[in-house]
């Protein structure tokens, strides 16, 4: 895009600056729209599984429900508890929201369609998602209220625990791909399975890792079986209890932007990103734009998230910790060793520096 702006006679630095700003807007604005629609989808899927109708009043089929909710929240009064730590109280939702958007900078939507094609892309996502916990912890502490504080404690412990196993799973993928760049990881998956399937997940050593990654991403985003941070039967609304109006809406948007990010990571790391499922020419798959494949796969994972939400009951907190530390961590650690051994034995690294 920098070249496009340079063609208007700007010098390189200004063209880069304008191109980056417009790239950010091109990702952030559709993402906000996607979040609004995905909340609607979430409620519809949930309702369908519960044999209800779901939102169906605002607009055709209730499609404008999220916008009506947004308007309602926008018109509410912002209430700051008198005993709250004001600065941190207001900063917390902004951090949650900003961090949820910042991670999208390195997500490739199609070949070459990425804001920052950096060679530590996967580490960047890990770093940014580890910042997400601050929004929750700060809101919990600044609210100066018991329920949000409990929720913040739970959230901090939960996110740190599951990040460890997510880190090891990412190492497994990186061992296969030989790079931390997300675009390159997707390109490595072309024709990976038996020469025709464009996905890492078909490998018998990576399939269990994908299952662990999917469950960990549910835990990382505090989705249903692991939504201990906002367990309404125990903690009212968790860390959001004292929030209202726009500050509440920012938490809400950030949460769903994070969920979409985790869905897209599932797509990029294990299901071939923007590539069609099979690497064959006799079906005109490659004529469909890659972004359609990418968004379709991401949507499929979001459907699975909603499906899980409607089906399973909530975990108990000690079970959550046990699953993270005693099951997933040893398992992913073992797989890092097994996969490195397998790749050495099959000569995967020969010819690489």
């Amino acid at each position: 895009m920098t070249e496009f702006f340079q063609s208007f006679g700007m010098n390189y630095e200004w063209a880069w600056f304008v191109a980056t700003i417009s790239g950010i807007l091109l990702i952030a604005l559709p993402l906000m729209l996607a979040v609004a629609m995905i909340i609607y989808v979430d409620r519809k899927v949930w309702a369908a599984i519960n044999l209800r109708r779901g939102p169906n009043v605002v607009g055709p089929w209730g499609l404008l429900q999220s916008f009506a909710d947004g308007l309602k929240v926008f018109l509410q009064e912002t209430i700051i508890p008198s005993a709250a730590n004001k600065g941190i109280f207001l900063l917390a939702p902004i951090i949650t929201f900003t961090v949820a958007l910042a991670a999208w900078a390195v997500v490739p939507f199609d070949a070459g369609v990425v804001l920052a094609d950096i060679n530590v892309g996967l580490l960047y996502i890990l770093a940014i998602s580890s910042l997400g916990v601050y929004g929750v912890v700060m809101s919990g502490w600044a609210s100066n209220s018991k329920y949000p504080f409990y929720s913040a404690m739970r959230a901090a412990a939960q996110m740190i625990s599951y990040e460890v196993s997510i880190g090891f799973i990412l190492v497994c993928v990186v061992l296969f791909a030989g790079t931390f760049n997300l675009s390159a990881i997707v390109n490595e998956q072309q024709g990976f399975g038996l020469g025709i399937i464009n996905a890492y997940v078909v490998h018998p050593l990576l399939f269990p890792m994908w299952v662990v990654f999917f469950i960990s991403s549910l835990a990382e985003t505090a989705r249903v079986p692991f939504d201990l941070t906002e367990a309404e039967s125990e903690l009212v609304a968790g860390y959001q209890t004292e929030y209202s109006s726009m500050s509440f809406a920012l938490f809400w948007l950030g949460e769903y932007a994070n969920i979409l990010l985790m869905c897209s990571l599932n797509t990029l790391l294990f299901f071939g990103g923007w590539l069609p499922p099979l690497d064959v020419d006799w079906i005109p798959w490659f004529d469909i734009p890659g972004i359609i494949w990418f968004l379709g796969k991401t949507f499929l994972f979001f459907f699975m998230f909603s499906w899980v939400m409607a089906t399973v009951p909530r975990y108990r907190y000690d079970q959550l910790m046990r699953l993270g530390w005693k099951v997933f961590l040893p398992m992913s650690l073992l797989f890092v060793a097994v996969i490195s051994g397998y790749l050495m034995a099959t000569g995967h690294f020969e010819g690489q520096a």
Partner: protein
């Protein structure tokens, strides 16, 4: 132009947040300023082209160490009056540490002015080619030239971790409260988990 602006932004923020770490009255605010300082230090690392270290700083320090810091500080009920009372007593120690840090800084600047450090051996092996990415360069050095030091550092950390677990591990007597046998809990069925009782009036149930 943009690099210069970014450098001055990050550098100013590091210094400002560093100052606020020591001047903030509330320890939670101190930790939050410290996190901002870490984050901006990572930004400076990116500017000098060490993006791998920058990401590690964010993941390890900001994402894990500082969260635990914040966790502990938030849960402690700190008495500010008591803390200030210890100020005079700890003042000489603080001055000593500050002098050591100042000496290190002066030595660092002196070493910098003496010329750049030659990395790698004279015959050219071990030096990293410019074309390599950060991670590849690290791997090439850590797993060849410095492999023993690297493995030793890993071993020390492992021993420290196991030691910490052993020190905090409490062995509970068998069947004590708090012990969870998940398998047993999942295997429970209505037949063995519930009993039918028909208590007479005023007799109650023996459990």
């Amino acid at each position: 132009m943009i690099q210069t602006l970014a450098f001055y932004l990050f550098a100013a923020l590091v210094i400002a947040s560093g100052t606020f770490v020591i001047t903030a009255r509330n320890p939670v605010h101190s930790v939050l300023w410290l996190i901002l300082a870490f984050f901006n230090a990572a930004g400076l690392m990116v500017l000098v082209g060490a993006e791998f270290i920058a990401m590690l700083v964010v993941i390890v320090y900001v994402g894990a160490v500082a969260v635990l810091f914040l966790f502990v500080v938030m849960m402690l009920n700190i008495d500010f009056a008591e803390m200030r009372a210890g100020f005079i007593k700890n003042f000489p120690l603080g001055i000593a540490i500050a002098l050591v840090l100042l000496a290190e800084l002066v030595m660092g600047i002196g070493a910098y002015r003496a010329g750049i450090l030659e990395l790698g051996s004279p015959d050219g092996t071990g030096a990293t080619p410019i074309s390599m990415s950060n991670i590849e360069a690290f791997g090439a050095l850590f797993y060849s030239k410095y492999v023993f030091l690297f493995e030793a550092a890993g071993l020390i950390l492992l021993v420290a971790m196991i030691g910490a677990i052993m020190l905090t591990h409490r062995r509970r007597p068998d069947g004590a409260r708090g012990h969870q046998d998940i398998g047993k809990q999942v295997r429970r069925n209505p037949d063995e988990a519930t009993q039918m009782k028909q208590p007479g009036v005023g007799e109650g149930v023996e459990l």
